[in-house]
């Protein structure tokens, strides 16, 4: 008896959970669109705003009459910073909800765990975050930066006179595939620039690490040996204790600049940035970029955050992955209009060469073969108001090199998307 009631309770709670996690608006003749971002757990600090940005973009497209005369219907699920759950949720989106496309993932480990599902079911994923490359699936479009669109230009800047002519490099990251691969590429790149192994230090911490005392002390020790820069691929909310510790131990940007690849305006909301002025971030977009498209984009977002009563709406900011989400959804909508269908194979074909006037101030183009956007690179310095001021940028958008030439064997890889890579 007891066991039966336990089973009953279990099924009941499971169905309640399922109901709570995926909600959908009932409407006739809609196109369902999946949104797969962690709304809880260590990555929620970064991913929650991407979900809201996706909803805003969909609302805007719907206000203009939708796509091919049909309204878009968002299906939001919460994979809770839990990598296997990402795969489960994406299978649910593709098979039960039958969504036409999914916008989602932040960490590479989450993308790697959903990839087999998308390839098996021939789904379509738009991935909006800078990543390590080494991947080119026909079922994924990458609207974030590849290493040559972010990491390598950032290191080149640090080695330049304006960037402080760094001679030694402290590579600090969270322990998973993106930091490890990026650092592998960077190490090979630094070797090619004549930096010896003794001038490169590589350190990893677990997800959610919060005690950076030893690491900051080590950075200090390492920096005594010559002009040092820290290249941080720390992800999620660990960044807050890391920057707090840097400030408390008196490590200033003039002595040891930290350039971060996963810290944007959204992550800085949780930190007092006065002691951090001068530390750097490399992205393809900053909220402070001054152009009419961006002004409208930022204003729309602030109005949306206020209208929906999002937490912290009075201090709402935009950042690079939000821009990439926005661009991705618009490009997908354009491609669906062009293909006159949401069929994955037709949309994929229509996406090649699609272009969109992005808030970064550039017209971004989806490459004809490699599923990546051509993106400009910008390096920004943290200001005391939590914004970045651009200190360096490329003149033209760069074509992505997902297969980095700094990893041996990549020269034999094809420059078009193939399954199972």
């Amino acid at each position: 008896m007891k066991r039966r009631s336990l089973i009953k309770a279990f099924t009941l709670s499971a169905s309640i959970a399922a109901m709570g996690l995926s909600w959908s608006i009932q409407a006739a003749e809609t196109i369902k669109v999946g949104i797969l971002h962690s709304l809880s757990g260590t990555m929620a600090i970064s991913e929650t705003s991407l979900k809201d940005m996706a909803l805003m973009t969909i609302e805007q497209i719907n206000a203009k009459g939708g796509v091919n005369g049909k309204l878009l219907e968002p299906v939001v699920v919460d994979p809770a910073s839990n990598w296997p759950l990402f795969a489960e949720k994406s299978r649910q989106l593709l098979t039960q909800d039958k969504v036409a496309v999914v916008f989602g993932c932040w960490t590479s480990v989450s993308r790697k765990s959903v990839l087999p599902v998308f390839e098996e079911l021939n789904g379509l994923l738009f991935y909006p975050v800078q990543y390590e490359g080494e991947e080119m699936s026909p079922n994924v479009f990458y609207t974030g930066a590849a290493p040559n669109q972010q990491a390598i230009p950032a290191v080149e800047y640090l080695m330049s006179e304006d960037g402080g002519s760094a001679k030694r490099f402290f590579l600090l990251g969270t322990d998973y595939v993106y930091p490890r691969t990026t650092n592998k590429i960077l190490r090979a790149f630094l070797h090619s620039k004549g930096v010896a192994d003794k001038d490169i230090e590589e350190v990893y911490t677990p997800f959610g690490h919060s005690d950076y005392q030893t690491i900051v002390a080590n950075i200090k020790k390492f920096s005594a040996g010559g002009k040092t820069a820290v290249i941080s691929t720390v992800n999620g909310d660990s960044n807050v204790p890391f920057y707090k510790e840097l400030a408390n131990q008196g490590l200033k940007a003039t002595d040891v600049p930290v350039v971060a690849f996963s810290v944007g305006e959204e992550e800085l909301r949780g930190i007092d940035t006065k002691p951090l002025v001068g530390h750097l971030a490399a992205w393809n977009y900053f909220e402070s970029v001054d152009n009419p498209v961006n002004q409208k984009f930022v204003a729309d977002w602030k109005a949306y955050a206020k209208a929906k009563g999002l937490p912290g709406a009075d201090k709402a900011v935009t950042n690079d992955p939000m821009e990439a989400t926005y661009v991705g959804i618009h490009m997908w909508a354009q491609a669906v209009e062009k293909a006159k269908s949401t069929d994955v194979d037709k949309v994929r074909e229509a996406l090649a060469g699609q272009s969109f006037k992005a808030p970064s101030g550039f017209t971004l183009t989806m490459d004809k073969t490699n599923h990546h956007l051509h993106k400009p690179v910008m390096i920004g310095e943290i200001q005391d108001d939590g914004q970045f001021s651009v200190v360096w940028e490329t003149e033209q958008p760069l074509r992505a090199q997902p297969w980095s030439p700094f990893i041996p064997g990549n020269d034999k890889r094809p420059d078009y998307a193939v399954k199972g890579n």
Binding site: P206, E245, N248, D272, G312
Partner: protein, 495 residues
């Protein structure tokens, strides 16, 4: 006429300063860098306000135009500013300037530093300037000057001195054998001092981590250790404490901005009251029905923890909230050239010890403490003697939860405040309590500091990830060997 001339004379420095500022504003970065280098070599006290303003990213206090700076220019401004501050009448400013110049002085500034060194009367500034000068004199042409510089550098514990001496000892760098041997002795001297700083730094970070673990675990030492409730919702009590801190901060910002500096102090009683209140409510409604049924308690408290997390998500959102450090908890005290003790960590160590002391006094020196110990040791006998066991249970659980709330206030000053805050500390808390020995405050104290120091000793050797795994493996082995933990309760205890 004379008056006009006088005003003109007075205005002159202002005018040159203004024009220099204008020129700087329009110059290219490379020109700006050259300008700053030349200013650093030939300081002029009239230029001091301009440099101070440049440090703030403007050319004059009332000028709204922003000067675009990068890190290289900021470094050069710091250096030029220090050069100018050496002309100050205030010896404290001169000392800070000389210390900055030890790091950043360039050979072009040598002539100026020489002059100031000869003129300096304050002994501390004189010594600091001597060191700044010695750094530059390593490149001098006369061996005697180099020898004196090398000897002087040996007196410091500065990590930069080590690098400079090492560079000197590179093959073909220093040719004079006398200077070479002196450099070798100096290097050994510096390295000894640096090693001392490093070891002290490791010990301090171990203590700091230990104090954080202790604060996280202390509440659990009462609810689990004394009452025997496997309290999976303990982490959420920490979280409630941290969110109370956030609320106090927000309310003060809105209604009493004057008191904002001391919000963590005001948050302490608030956090204690909120967590203790929630704890007591839980005890009365749920946990008291489950005494003596550990499995059900575990599931029930775990369910409560999920409910609390979700409630906080609904109230405050899933994202972390911003809890800022007040000024007196930011920054740190520089003990040795390579050892900075951050204020927030110092305060937390002191706070942890104070909370342990108070808890100990409460349990061992008050009537409530006596009752709690009596009830935990033999419930029936205590009830026979007229102790209201239900009330004692409630108060003890409230106390444990309240202390967890205090821990939450401290945690909010070092880490993130989010709905999942408790989840990241619950495992560590149980480790500390189990390792220390269930039912023992002293055990938790030793276990927390032991774990903290062991963690920090391992981390530099094998990295944070492996360190954590190794510590867990060691604890499992230890518990296998000694299930009662470090300190076992002696005497006729139940079970």
């Amino acid at each position: 006429m004379l008056r006009l001339l006088l005003t003109l004379l007075l205005l002159m420095p202002l005018a040159t300063q203004a024009s220099e500022g204008e020129f700087f504003l329009t110059a290219k970065p490379a020109e700006q860098a050259q300008l700053l280098e030349s200013w650093a070599a030939q300081p002029d006290s009239a230029r001091l306000p301009l440099l101070e303003n440049l440090r703030q990213g403007r050319i004059a206090a009332e000028d709204t135009r922003k000067v675009r700076l990068n890190n290289r220019l900021r470094g050069l401004i710091d250096n030029a500013l220090a050069s100018h501050q050496l002309l100050s009448h205030n010896s404290a400013i001169r000392l800070a300037a000389a210390q900055q110049l030890q790091k950043s002085a360039q050979p072009a500034q040598m002539a100026f530093l020489d002059r100031r060194f000869a003129l300096e009367v304050d002994p501390a500034v004189h010594a600091a300037l001597g060191l700044a000068l010695a750094n530059l004199q390593l490149g001098a042409s006369e061996p005697a000057v180099r020898l004196a510089a090398v000897r002087l550098l040996g007196e410091t514990g500065d990590p930069l001195a080590r690098t400079r001496l090492e560079a000197l000892l590179q093959p073909n760098a220093e040719t004079d054998p006398g200077v070479r041997t002196a450099a070798e002795t100096s290097l050994a001297q510096v390295q000894r001092k640096l090693l001392a700083g490093e070891l002290l730094g490791q010990a301090f970070s171990g203590l700091s981590l230990g104090s954080i673990l202790l604060l996280a675990a202390l509440g659990l030492a009462i609810t689990f250790g004394l009452l025997g409730v496997i309290n999976m919702a303990h982490g959420e009590m920490l979280m409630l404490g941290a969110y109370s801190t956030y609320m106090v901060q927000v309310l003060l910002q809105r209604y009493a901005p004057g008191a904002i500096e001391f919000y963590p102090l005001i948050a302490l009683p608030v956090a204690f009251a909120i967590s203790a209140g929630v704890g007591m409510a839980l005890e009365r409604t749920v946990i008291r029905h489950l005494y003596g049924r550990p499995l059900e308690t575990l599931l029930a408290t775990w369910g409560i923890s999920l409910i609390l997390i979700q409630a906080i998500r609904l109230l405050f959102g899933a994202q972390n909230v911003e809890v800022s450090n007040p000024a007196w908890l930011s920054g740190g005290i520089q003990l040795l050239p390579n050892l900075v003790l951050p204020y927030n960590r110092l305060v937390i160590i002191g706070f942890a010890l104070a909370v342990v002391l108070l808890t100990w006094l409460l349990l061992n020196r008050t009537r409530l403490g006596l009752n709690v110990r009596a009830v935990t040791q033999n419930r029936n006998m205590a009830a026979c003697c007229g102790v209201s066991t239900g009330r004692v249970d409630m108060l003890a659980f409230g106390l444990g939860s309240g202390i967890a709330g205090l821990g939450g206030v401290a945690l909010s000053q070092v880490g993130n405040v989010g709905p999942d805050l408790g989840q990241s500390y619950i495992i560590d808390s149980f480790l500390v309590v189990v390792l220390g020995g269930v039912g023992q405050l002293a055990g938790s104290l030793w276990a927390a500091f032991g774990l903290g120091i062991a963690n920090k000793l391992l981390e530099p050797q094998i990295g944070a990830v492996l360190g954590k795994i190794l510590i867990l493996a060691l604890i499992i082995l230890f518990i296998q060997k000694r299930p009662q933990g470090l300190f076992a309760l002696k005497g006729r205890v139940i079970d």
